[in-house]
C-alpha cells in the first residue's frame, strides 16, 4: 500500500474549508472598505468616477465567462468528453489572461494620471480619495494575484487532463480547481460594484 492515500470526499471538504479561509481573508478587506466608505462617502464617489466603467464591465464579462467555462469543463469531464474539457479549460485560461491584460491597462492609466499611493497628484486630493485608491490597488492587486495563481493552476489542470492524470473517474482535482476559480470570480463580483459602480 502506498503511504499516500486519497479520498475524494476529504478533498472536497478540504477545498471548501480553504475557500472559507479565502472569504475570511477578503472579508477583512471588505470590512475595512465599508468602514472607510462610511466615513468618506463623497470622496469615494468622486474617486470612483476616475475608474473606467467600460473596462470594468468588460472585465466582469471576461471573468464570468472564464468561470462558466471551467464549470462546464467539470461537467464535460464527468461525461468523458475529454476534448471538450480541454477546449473549455484552454478558453478559460485565455480569458483569464485577457482579464489580467485589461487590468494592466487600467492600472497603467491610473499611474499615468498620477493616481497611485504616495503620488504627488494624489497628495493634493482629499484624504478620502487617497484611501479609495489605496484600497483599490490593495484589493484589486490581491485579487489579481489570485487570478495569476488561477492561470497557473488551470494550465496545470489542462496538462493533467491531456496526460490522462485527471480522468472521468477521477475528476477531483479539476472540480476543486474549478471551485477555486469560481471563488476568484465571486470576489470580483463584489469588487466590481464596490469600486466601479458606487454613487
Amino acid at each position: 500500500m502506498s503511504s499516500v492515500h486519497s479520498d475524494h470526499n476529504a478533498d472536497r471538504i478540504g477545498m471548501w474549508l480553504f475557500i472559507a479561509t479565502e472569504i475570511v481573508l477578503f472579508g477583512g478587506l471588505f470590512l475595512m472598505y465599508s468602514m472607510y466608505r462610511f466615513k468618506n462617502p463623497i470622496e469615494f464617489h468622486t474617486a470612483s468616477l476616475e475608474l473606467s466603467k467600460v473596462m470594468g464591465t468588460v472585465n466582469t464579462f471576461i471573468l464570468l465567462t472564464s468561470s462558466l467555462a471551467v464549470a462546464l469543463a467539470s461537467l464535460a469531464i464527468r461525461k468523458s468528453q475529454i476534448k471538450k474539457t480541454m477546449v473549455l479549460l484552454s478558453s478559460s485560461v485565455v480569458l483569464a489572461i485577457a482579464f489580467i491584460i485589461v487590468k494592466g491597462f487600467e492600472w497603467a492609466a491610473k499611474f499615468e494620471h498620477g493616481l497611485y499611493p504616495n503620488s504627488a497628484i494624489l497628495a493634493g486630493k482629499p484624504k478620502g480619495e487617497m484611501l479609495y485608491f489605496g484600497l483599490y490597488f490593495a484589493m484589486t492587486g490581491l485579487h489579481a494575484v489570485h487570478v495569476l495563481v488561477g492561470i497557473g493552476l488551470l494550465t496545470f489542470v489542462l496538462f493533467q487532463v491531456k496526460r490522462n492524470k485527471i480522468t472521468p473517474h477521477n475528476p477531483g482535482f479539476l472540480v476543486n480547481s474549478g471551485l477555486y476559480w469560481n471563488l476568484v470570480e465571486l470576489i470580483w463580483i463584489f469588487l466590481f460594484p464596490l469600486f466601479y459602480l458606487i454613487s
Binding site: 500500500m1 503511504s3 499516500v4 492515500h5 479520498d7 470526499n9 476529504a10 471538504i13 478540504g14 474549508l17 480553504f18 472559507a20 479561509t21 479565502e22 475570511v24 481573508l25 477578503f26 472579508g27 477583512g28 478587506l29 470590512l31 475595512m32 468602514m35 472607510y36 466615513k39 468618506n40 497611485y116 499611493p117 504616495n118 482629499p126 484624504k127 478620502g128 487617497m130 484611501l131 489605496g134 484600497l135 490597488f137 490593495a138 492587486g141 490581491l142
Partner: protein, 542 residues
C-alpha cells in the same frame, strides 16, 4: 497487499521503516504523520529554548547593575521573545506535534486526510522560521515593535518590519493548512463505531482549535499583508495623514490574536482531559460538557477581541459588550476545571509525572484565568493596562496553562512516541523546581503590576528593585527546572528503559498499539464499541 501478508509482517517501528528516500530525506520528505510530528518537535523545541534564552537575558538585564544591553536591544529582545514563543512555539506546538502524531492514532486512522499537505505545512513552518531569523540580521535589524506590530510605530520603525511580518504571514498559512487537515481528518477518518461522542476529549480539543485556526488566521494574514503594502507602497489604510485609522489595525489584529489564545490553550485542555481519567482510573466527569465547552470557548472566544482595547478610545458601549462577553468565556473554562476536579474525586489516583504536570496546569491556569477576569473588568483594566500584571496574567495562562499542559502531554505520550520511559523520580524533582520557580518568577509580577510597574520598560524605578530581583531569581530557578526536565526527557527518549505498549494503563486507542507505533498504525481497522475512558476492561485483565 493481502491480509495474510499483513499479519505475518514483523514489527517495524515507524522510525525504522524503509521509505522512498534514504537518511534525512526519508524524514523531511516523508508524508507519515508521525515523522512530521517529530520534525515539528525538533523545530519547536529548538525555538522554545531560543525564546527561553532571550527571556533569561532580559531577566539578567533587570538585575541591578547588570545592564547587558541597550534600550534598543531590549526592545528587540522582548519582540523576538514574543514572536518566537507565540508564532513559532505556542501556536503550532500542541496541534502540530501531538495533533499530528496522535490524532490518527486516537481515532483509529492510518494517517491524516492530507499527508502531503501535512508535510507542506512543516516546510512552510521552516521557511517562516528562516525568514524570521533572516529579518533579525538584515535590512535594518531586529524588529522592535513588540509581537503585536502595532501601527503607527511599525510603519515608522526603521528596522526590518516587512520581512518579519511576512514570516508571520507564512507561519499563519502553515497553521491554517494544519487546521484544514485536522477538521477533515476528524470528519472523514474516524474508525467504524467511533461517533463524535466516543472520541477522546483530546480530539475534541484538536478539532475545536482547528476551526479557530481556519476561521481566525486569515484575518491576521490580510492585516499583515496590509502592513507590508503600507510599508512598501504607502497605501494609507493605517496612516492618519492619508485618512487611515490606526485603531482599525488593532481591531483586525485582535480579531485574530485573541482567538489565537484559544488556539494555544484549547488543545492543551484536551490533552489534560485525556490524562486525568487515566491517572484517576475513572471515567471523565461530564464528557459532553467538556466537549461542548471546547466549542463554546472557540466560538465565544472569537467575539472578545475588544477587551485588548479598553483604553484605545473605542466606544463605551463596545467596551461594555466586550467586557460582558469576556466574562462569559470564563463559564466554559470553569466548567472544564470543575469537571477535571470531579473526575479525580473518589478516583484511584496514581501520582505519576504526567499527573503532577496536569495538576499544576489546573492550579496555574486557574490563577491565570481569574486574573484575566480582573483585566476583563472595564474599570480595573484602566489601572492595570500595560503593566506587569498583564505580562504575568499572560504567562500564567499560556506558560502555566498551555506550557504545563504540553509538558504533561510529553510525560504522558513521549513513551508512546519513542518506546522508552524517562527517569520518573528525576522528572518529579524537576517538576518541583520548575513549579516553585515559576510561581516565584511570575507571582510577584502581579503585585508589581498592581503597584504600577509598566511592562516593556528597559529600566526599573528604585521602589520596584527588590521585587525585580526576586522575579529574576525566580526565573533562573524556573529555567533550571525546565532544563532538567527537558534533559531528562531527551535522555529517556534515547536511552530510557523500554516501556511496552501501555505504561500508564490508558484506555484510548493509541495504547493498544506497540510503542512506538508502526508506519501504518493499525494492522486491522479497529471497531469501536465503548467510550474512550472505560476502565472496566482493564480491571478484568488486571
Amino acid at each position: 497487499m493481502t491480509t495474510a501478508e499483513v499479519t505475518e509482517q514483523p514489527y517495524v517501528p515507524y522510525y525504522a521503516s524503509k521509505g522512498k528516500y534514504p537518511g534525512i530525506f526519508g524524514w523531511i520528505f516523508s508524508p507519515d504523520h508521525k515523522r512530521i510530528a517529530m520534525l515539528y518537535l525538533y523545530g519547536i523545541l529548538t525555538f522554545f529554548l531560543a525564546g527561553v534564552l532571550l527571556g533569561v537575558l532580559m531577566r539578567i538585564n533587570m538585575l541591578p547593575g547588570h545592564k547587558i544591553m541597550t534600550g534598543q536591544q531590549y526592545n528587540a529582545m522582548f519582540t523576538l521573545h514574543g514572536i518566537i514563543q507565540i508564532f513559532l512555539v505556542v501556536i503550532p506546538a500542541v496541534p502540530a506535534i501531538f495533533g499530528n502524531f496522535f490524532l490518527p492514532l486516537l481515532i483509529g486512522a492510518k494517517d491524516m486526510s492530507f499527508p502531503r499537505l501535512n508535510l507542506f505545512t512543516w516546510w512552510l513552518y521552516t521557511i517562516g522560521a528562516i525568514l524570521a531569523l533572516v529579518s533579525v540580521f538584515f535590512g535594518g535589524g531586529a524588529v522592535d515593535t513588540g509581537w503585536t506590530f502595532y501601527v503607527p510605530f511599525s510603519l515608522k520603525s526603521t528596522v526590518n518590519v516587512p520581512l518579519a511580518v511576512f514570516a508571520v504571514f507564512i507561519l499563519g498559512m502553515s497553521s491554517i493548512l494544519t487546521g484544514i487537515n485536522i477538521v477533515t481528518t476528524v470528519h472523514q477518518l474516524r474508525a467504524p463505531g467511533m461517533t463524535f461522542f466516543k472520541m477522546p476529549l483530546s480530539v475534541w480539543g484538536f478539532y475545536s482549535t482547528a476551526w479557530v485556526q481556519i476561521l481566525a488566521t486569515p484575518v491576521i494574514g490580510v492585516t499583515l499583508l496590509l502592513v507590508i503594502m503600507e510599508r512598501l507602497f504607502g497605501i494609507g489604510v493605517f496612516d492618519p495623514s492619508k485618512g487611515g485609522d490606526p485603531l482599525l489595525y488593532q481591531h483586525l489584529f485582535w480579531i485574530y490574536s485573541h482567538p489565537a489564545v484559544y488556539i494555544m490553550i484549547l488543545p492543551a485542555m484536551g490533552v489534560i482531559s485525556d490524562i486525568f481519567p487515566v491517572f484517576s482510573r475513572k471515567n471523565i466527569y461530564g464528557y459532553k460538557m467538556i466537549a461542548f465547552s471546547s466549542m463554546a470557548i472557540a466560538s465565544v472566544g472569537s467575539l472578545v477581541w475588544g477587551h485588548h482595547m479598553y483604553v484605545s478610545g473605542q466606544s463605551d458601549l463596545a467596551g461594555i459588550v466586550f467586557s460582558l462577553l469576556t466574562f462569559l468565556v470564563a463559564v466554559p473554562s470553569a466548567i472544564k476545571v470543575f469537571n477535571w476536579l470531579a473526575t479525580m474525586y473518589k478516583g484511584s489516583i496514581q501520582v505519576e509525572p504526567p499527573f503532577l504536570y496536569a495538576l499544576s496546569f489546573i492550579f496555574l491556569f486557574t490563577i491565570g484565568g481569574l486574573t484575566g477576569l480582573l483585566l476583563g473588568a472595564l474599570s480595573a483594566n484602566v489601572h492595570l493596562h500595560n503593566t506587569y500584571f498583564v505580562v504575568s496574567h499572560f504567562h500564567y495562562v499560556i506558560f502555566g496553562g498551555m506550557g504545563f499542559g504540553m509538558f504533561a502531554g510529553f510525560h504522558y505520550w513521549l513513551p508512546k512516541m519513542t518506546g522508552r520511559m524517562y527517569n520518573k523520580p528525576f522528572s518529579i524533582v524537576s517538576w518541583v523546581i520548575l513549579f516553585c520557580g515559576f510561581n516565584l518568577f511570575y507571582f510577584p509580577m502581579f503585585i508589581m503590576g498592581w503597584m504600577g510597574m509598566p511592562r516593556r520598560f528597559y529600566d526599573t524605578p528604585p521602589e520596584y528593585m527588590a521585587m525585580q530581583q526576586l522575579v529574576s531569581i525566580g526565573s533562573f530557578i524556573m529555567v533550571a527546572g525546565l532544563l532538567m526536565m527537558i534533559a531528562n526527557l531527551v535522555k529517556g527518549a534515547f536511552s530510557g528503559k523500554k516501556c511496552g505498549p501501555n505504561p500508564w494503563g490508558g484506555t484510548t486507542l493509541e495504547w493498544s498499539l506497540p510503542s512506538p507505533p508502526e508506519t501504518e498504525n493499525f494492522r486491522e481497522v479497529p471497531i469501536i464499541t465503548k467510550g474512550p475512558y472505560d476502565f472496566s476492561s482493564l480491571k478484568d485483565s488486571a
